[in-house]
């Protein structure tokens, strides 16, 4: 047996010559890479592309709604566009956005591992995602689909649009999501660096863990639901189609059994990013580490029991409606606790208002609105009035966009120097964040009002009383567009001629900040050893860079 390993400090090399981006520049080395960072970057490029596609569709919808009647497109086009906007944003952008893109790049690094547990499976899941995306694009080109992203039967079994190729695309993408989730769970269980016990995991990892559990448990049910829907259309199996003796409400139960937990696939990773941002930029130990970690798991668990709250008016039994409403409120509780923990973390901190922190603050404000309006929608009698109105549209945009997208942007800015090795223009970043914040509220606040006044969603035309509010909302969408263009502009500038980034620009304590920017090809050339928690700012920074030589002798270095 080897002698006891020597624990020593491994300072990061500043501005390394070779790193994961340039150690092999051939196209093949990208397309066939099994490096989680490169796969993550390919995901990142894809999700940003699809965010752009979904965003353009949204601008078109908002422009059409400038007028109560026809503005520049007909009803069928409008219906296809809102369906695609939803499907693209949900399945192609938001579900993979944080876990598959940012998570892929940073999860192994934050665990002190050289890669995820199954690198080839990771690449496969990227290509499965691309395959699913191609089906979606194919459906767009072949008449589109006009059922709404929920594919409710019997409309989806009778609609003349490209339902089969679209649902098949989503079916395929589901497997990508499942494989990523499996990979992350195994990686978190088995690949942690020595000393990195569960209680020292960064909260971003905890949130990815909770997300991965939902992905693994919920997505197969979506897969079988969509398979049944495809069979319904091709063979007429009659399980969901009332014309053949089936039950359309059963479809809704199947669908929301996945799609409600899927909401947490979208938002829980955002919680993880916010925890990192608040702690790092307050340079302070996180308040209530376990409360935040376990509330993610609690949300993941309760999230499986509340799917029926999408169906209060569907004709399900009154008893189920009441039970689902009751349980729904228990998702609100851990969510509220998280928000208060974050605010408490800022108390007596040393708050550095850089752009990622600005996004975190905006997230807290917008997500609180999203959460509180969720309580409104959980209240039974009020829900009956608000269900399927613009109030719901505004609510989930506050959660999904004000929550997840703002957190995603915060995370993107936070880790940008780390994976590109370049800094961005901080002033422009702050301006863009403020523009987005104004544009976002201008777009969606009026929608709350319209909704409670009774404006139903998925409406191509509307009665004139709503026109003013619709126009505010449309102008807001343009402001949002300008904000995103500005971000795109300065990030491209940063790639082209940005100042070289140091290894730890924000003074973080978790493992990704202890290695070079951009990261080395295999993350660590030593075996990192974790002594302190990721938010222990009171400990000397040298003690966060400890490691042992990995040489090639695999000695007593079991990860668990």
């Amino acid at each position: 047996m080897a002698t006891l390993p020597v624990l020593k400090e491994y300072p990061a090399q500043e501005h390394p010559e070779t790193h994961f981006l340039n150690h092999d520049k051939s196209l093949k080395s990208w397309l066939l890479t099994v490096d989680h960072k490169r796969i993550g970057l390919m995901y990142l490029a894809s999700v940003i592309f699809f965010f752009f596609v979904g965003g353009v569709l949204a601008l078109a919808l908002r422009l059409e709604l400038w007028e109560p009647a026809r503005n520049f497109m007909d009803a069928d086009t409008y219906n296809r566009i809102f369906t695609l906007h939803g499907a693209v944003m949900i399945f192609l952008f938001i579900i993979p956005s944080i876990p598959a893109a940012l998570g892929n790049i940073f999860l192994p690094v934050m665990l002190g591992a050289k890669d995820v547990a199954f690198p080839r499976l990771n690449l496969a899941s990227f290509y499965i995602y691309v395959g699913g995306a191609l089906f979606t694009l194919y459906s767009m080109a072949h008449g589109g689909i006009d059922t709404g992203w929920t594919f409710y039967t019997p409309y989806s079994t009778t609609s003349g649009s490209a339902v089969i190729s679209m649902t098949f695309g989503v079916f395929v993408m589901g497997f990508s999501s499942i494989l990523t989730g499996m990979n992350f769970i195994v990686t978190i269980h088995k690949m942690r660096a020595p000393g990195l016990v569960w209680g020292k995991l960064p909260l971003f990892i905890w949130s990815l863990y909770a997300t991965a559990i939902i992905q693994v448990l919920a997505t197969p049910v979506l897969a079988i639901t969509l398979l049944l829907l495809i069979m319904e259309r091709t063979l007429g199996i009659g399980i969901f189609d009332p014309a053949l003796g089936g039950d359309p409400v059963l479809y809704q139960h199947f669908f929301w059994f996945y799609s409600h937990p899927a909401v947490y696939i979208m938002i829980v990773p955002a919680f993880g990013i916010i925890s990192e941002l608040i702690a790092t930029f307050s340079r302070k130990t996180i308040f209530g580490y376990w409360a935040i970690a376990f509330s993610s798991l609690a949300i993941a668990f309760i999230g499986f029991l509340v799917w029926g709250h999408h169906m209060f008016t569907s004709g399900q039994s009154e008893l189920s409606t009441v039970v689902f409403s009751f349980l729904t409120f228990f998702v609100g509780l851990p969510t509220g606790i998280k928000i208060l923990n974050w605010v408490a973390t800022m108390y007596k901190g040393s708050i550095w208002m850089q752009s990622p922190m600005l996004y975190a603050i905006m997230f807290l404000f917008l997500f609180t609105i999203g959460g509180l309006t969720g309580i409104m929608l959980g209240a039974l009698s009020v829900n009956i009035h608000l269900h399927d109105t613009y109030y719901v549209v505004a609510h989930f945009h506050y959660v999904m966009m004000g929550g997840t997208v703002f957190a995603f942007l915060g995370g993107l800015h936070f880790w940008w120097p780390k994976f590109t090795g370049k800094m961005f223009n901080e002033l422009q970043a702050k301006i863009a964040a403020v523009i987005l914040f104004i544009g976002f509220n201008m777009t969606f606040l009026p929608q709350f009002v319209m909704g409670s006044q009774g404006m139903p969603r998925r409406y191509y035309g509307y009665i004139e009383q709503f026109q003013t509010l619709h126009q505010y909302s449309t102008v807001g969408s343009w402001v949002l567009g300008v904000g995103f263009l500005l971000i795109f502009w300065y990030l491209v500038q940063s790639l082209r001629k940005g100042e070289a980034a140091p290894s730890n620009p924000w003074g973080g304590r978790s493992l990704e900040w202890m290695i070079s920017s951009p990261m080395p090809p295999h993350n660590f050339d030593y075996i990192p050893v974790v002594k302190h928690g990721p938010y222990d700012y009171h400990q000397p920074i040298a003690e966060f860079r400890l490691g042992i030589d990995d040489g090639h002798s695999h000695t007593e270095t079991k990860a668990h």
Binding site: I178, M182, V186, H189, P220, I237, G238, I239, F254
Partner: protein, 217 residues
């Protein structure tokens, strides 16, 4: 085997793992998670089954008489037998006995083929009667307006299970080739072990399907 000796042939150890144990544990946990997703995937169909059976209990009793209990029973025995040969194949791989391992793997494949052939006869017999899935259903022997839904569920469940058997045949055949090339030994037999887990799951799902579909009274 608490600590596989790292100096032993490490050709199978991927660069990002610290040692073989970690790699083996990871693969096994990954497979278990995959099996969980499989159970949930089939779970959707089981829920559809439960819901329709609760709504139409009489239909399920009537329709089950059209299913051939003898053939289903034989198939159950065939699959249980294949699970046994699979377990023996793993044992042989663990004990550095590749020729026995190949023999058992081949028996597993053979039994899987027997299963599929019996399934083929069951399906063709039903098609002759006009028992097709979905709208093509034209059998008049069951006096119930939703008879076609029972058979849609039957075909979905057994069909999806059949696809899993075929995938299993493919993977086990690949294992036979790898074993012949000497890929596995007592320190590395992960693919055989986790394929075994998969195969047992396929078997267990059938053990649920058989009574639920064939043995309703």
């Amino acid at each position: 085997m608490s600590h596989t000796d790292a100096t032993h042939s490490n050709s199978h150890l991927q660069h990002h793992f610290v040692d073989s144990d970690q790699q083996f544990d990871s693969a096994k946990l990954g497979m278990w998670l995959f099996l969980v997703t499989e159970i949930l995937f089939f779970g959707g169909l089981f829920v559809a089954y439960i819901v329709y059976r609760a709504w139409n209990p009489e239909l399920f009793t009537m329709a089950a008489t059209q299913l051939d209990t003898v053939m289903g029973g034989i198939n159950t025995l065939v699959l249980i037998g294949s699970s046994l040969t699979m377990a023996l194949a793993i044992r042989a791989a663990q004990t550095d006995n590749p020729s026995a391992s190949i023999k058992y793997l081949a028996s597993t494949v053979a039994l899987a083929f027997v299963f599929m052939v019996i399934k083929y006869f069951e399906y063709t017999h039903k098609f002759e009667l006009g028992i097709y899935p979905g709208e093509a259903y034209s059998f008049t022997g069951i006096d119930h307006p939703k008879a076609h839904i029972f058979f849609s569920i039957y075909y979905m469940m057994t069909g999806l299970h059949g696809i899993h058997v075929i995938i299993g045949i493919g993977i086990i055949t690949w294992l036979i080739i790898k074993t012949r090339n000497g890929a596995f030994n007592s320190s590395y037999y992960t693919p055989v072990e986790i394929t075994g887990l998969y195969w047992h799951l396929v078997d267990i799902i059938w053990i649920f399907l058989f009574p639920l579909l064939y043995l309703i009274d």
